[in-house]
Symmetry: C2
Subunit: 340 residues, 2 copies
Amino acid sequence: MSRKRSTIYDLATQAGTSASTVSAILNGTWRERRVSAETAERVLALAHKLKYTVNRQASGLRRKRSGLIGMMIPMHDNRFFSAMSQTFEKLARERHLYPLVVSTLRDPKLELETARTLISYQIESLLITGATDPDPVSRLCTHHGVAHVNVDLPGTLAPSVISNNLWGAQMLTQQLVQRSRPLAALPATHPRQRLYFLGGIASDYATAQRIRGFCDVLQAASPNAVLPEQINPCGYEAERAEAAVADLHDKLQGLPRALFVNSTIALEGVVRFLNRLPRSAMNGCVVGCYDWDPFASALSWPVLMVKQDTGKLMGKAFELLDTDQLDPTVQIQIAPSLVG
Amino acid sequence: MSRKRSTIYDLATQAGTSASTVSAILNGTWRERRVSAETAERVLALAHKLKYTVNRQASGLRRKRSGLIGMMIPMHDNRFFSAMSQTFEKLARERHLYPLVVSTLRDPKLELETARTLISYQIESLLITGATDPDPVSRLCTHHGVAHVNVDLPGTLAPSVISNNLWGAQMLTQQLVQRSRPLAALPATHPRQRLYFLGGIASDYATAQRIRGFCDVLQAASPNAVLPEQINPCGYEAERAEAAVADLHDKLQGLPRALFVNSTIALEGVVRFLNRLPRSAMNGCVVGCYDWDPFASALSWPVLMVKQDTGKLMGKAFELLDTDQLDPTVQIQIAPSLVG
DNA sequence: GTGAAAGCGCTAACAC
DNA sequence: GTGTTAGCGCTTTCAC
C-alpha cells in the first residue's frame, strides 16, 4: 500500500527538476529564487498527487529549528490545567509553533526527565506550568539554550507568570465577611462567629499565599487575632476535606459563619457533608471556594468562587517568550476574578 | 552560557575515541560492540558532565523511527477527554513512546491538518479519538504507513474501540425505571408518568445510540409507544438544557417520573433549573446522566451516572496497535459502568 | 532561472 | 575492540 514515503528527490525526478528547486517551491520561497511559475505549478500538482509530506525531522535537523514548543503541566485531568492546555495550543498555533503538552504528575524527577526528553526533540521554548521543582528544569533549559517561563508556580531562575493568590484570597475573604452575618442567636465571641479556612497543604506556595490573604483580611476587619484552629490545610483530597468539615461541625456544634475552601476537590468533600445536614443547618453559612467549577455554580446554595484567568496567564507567558524578556527576577501576577 | 549544544563528535574528541563508539555507549548497545568498560565509563561520565542530550531529530532521521505516538482529541477542557489523555500518556510511556496529544475542536479540517502535521513529525502511530470525520484521517495515515485506531467514535477504515453507548443507555434507563415509582396521585396515562430524554444532538453517533437504548427499554417495559415529545436532543450547552427542562416542567405542570440527561454539561443546566424549584418538587423525580462528573455525585439529590471506562478504552486501543490488529472491520465495544 | 554539493547529528555497515 | 564511512531527507550556499 504505502511503500516508501516520497521525498523531494522523487518529486524532482518525476517533475524533471532538482531537489533544491522542489524544496524552494514547497517552502514558498520559489519567487525569490525566480523559479518559473510553470515549474512551480507542476511540482505542486505532483506533490499533491503523491500526497507528499515533508519530513520535519529532516528539515528541522538541517534548519536547526523544530517548530515545536513544549508545556509541562502536573496533570491533564483537572479543569484548571486542561484549560491551560487549550489556551496554550491556541497561542502556539497562532505563532506557527506545534504544541507539545505533557503531564509530570507533580513529580520532580519526572519533571526533569520530561524536560530532558522535550529538549532532545529540540523544542524551541518551554512553559513550565505548576512544577513542583522548577529551578532544576530551568537550569537544564538554560544549558541547552531553550527559552522558558514558569507559569502558575514561581521559580527563581526564569521569569514567572502566576495567579495573584494573595489578592484573590483577600477578595474572597472580604466577600465572605461582607455576605455573611454574625449569628444573632450566639454571643459575639462564639467560635461559630469566625471564618474557617479548609484544604490545601500549608507548605505549598499557593496555599501559603491564600492563608496569608485570608488572615490579612480577618485581622484588618476585627481586633481579634486569627486562631490556629481557623486554619486547616488538610490536603487536597475530597475525603480529607469531608472529614475536616464534619469534625469542625462537631466541635462548633453547628456550621460557622463562613467557610473558605481551598480547591474544588476539597469543595466536593465539603458539599458531600453539607448535603447530609438538614437544609436549615446551612442558614447563615456562606461558602467560598478558591478555584472554579461549573457544577459548583449549580448547587442548591450559592458558592462564591475564585476563577483564575487562564487566558491572561498563558497570554502573558507567551508575551515574555515573544519579546525575549527572560529576566529571572520578573514575576508577573495575574488577578483572578470572583464568580457567583 | 550555552554556546553550541555538544554532539557525539565533541564527546568523541574529548574522550579520545570515535563517534560510533560514543553512539553505541549512549545507546546501551556497547556490550555487543565489546567496548571496554573503561571507555564506556569515561564517555558516560563526560556526557554527564557536559549534560549531553541526544538530538532525536537526527537519530530519528537516521533510524527512521521518531519514538513519537500521537493522539487527537476534540478538546482538552473536558473530563472525559482529559482522562483519556492521562491514560494515553501512561500507556505510551510504558511502551517507550513519547505521547503527543493535540485537540482538533470537532473540526474536520483541523482533524486532517493535525494528522498531516503529526505525520510530518514522523509519529509511529495515531489514536483518533472522538473525531468528527475519522475516515479521511485514516486514508492519510494509511497512505503514509501510520498505524492508527479510532477511539470513542467509530470509523470505517480503521479498527474502532468505542464505548457501548447502547448498552449503557439501556442500563441507565432500566435503573431509572426501577428506581422511580409511578406518581400515585396521577392517572397512569398522565405524561408525567413517562421518562424523558434530554440533551445531545440526534445526528451524533453517540446520542443516536443512547436514544435507541432509551427507547428499547421503555418499549420492552410497557406496551405504550415512546412518544416523540419524550425525546429532546436539544444540544450540549447547559443553557439549552436548562431551557428545555423548564419548558418540560411547564408543559407537564411538574416534573416527570424520571429524566435521562445526555451529558454532564446538559446536566449542569438541568441542575440549575431544578435548584430553583422548591425541594419538594423533586419528590419522585429520578435523574440519570450519561457521563460522569465528581461534583454531580455531591448534589443534594442522587444522580445516577454512566461512567465510561477510559482505562479500558485506551488499553484496548493500545492492544490493537501492539498486536498489529488493524482490521478496519473490527469494532470493539467497551461497557461503561453505572455510578450512584 | 536552476542544479550540484555540502552538511545538520546520528546510526549502522563494514573494515581492520 | 574500535575507527571510517555512507547515508537518513532536507536546506542552502555557490556556481553557472
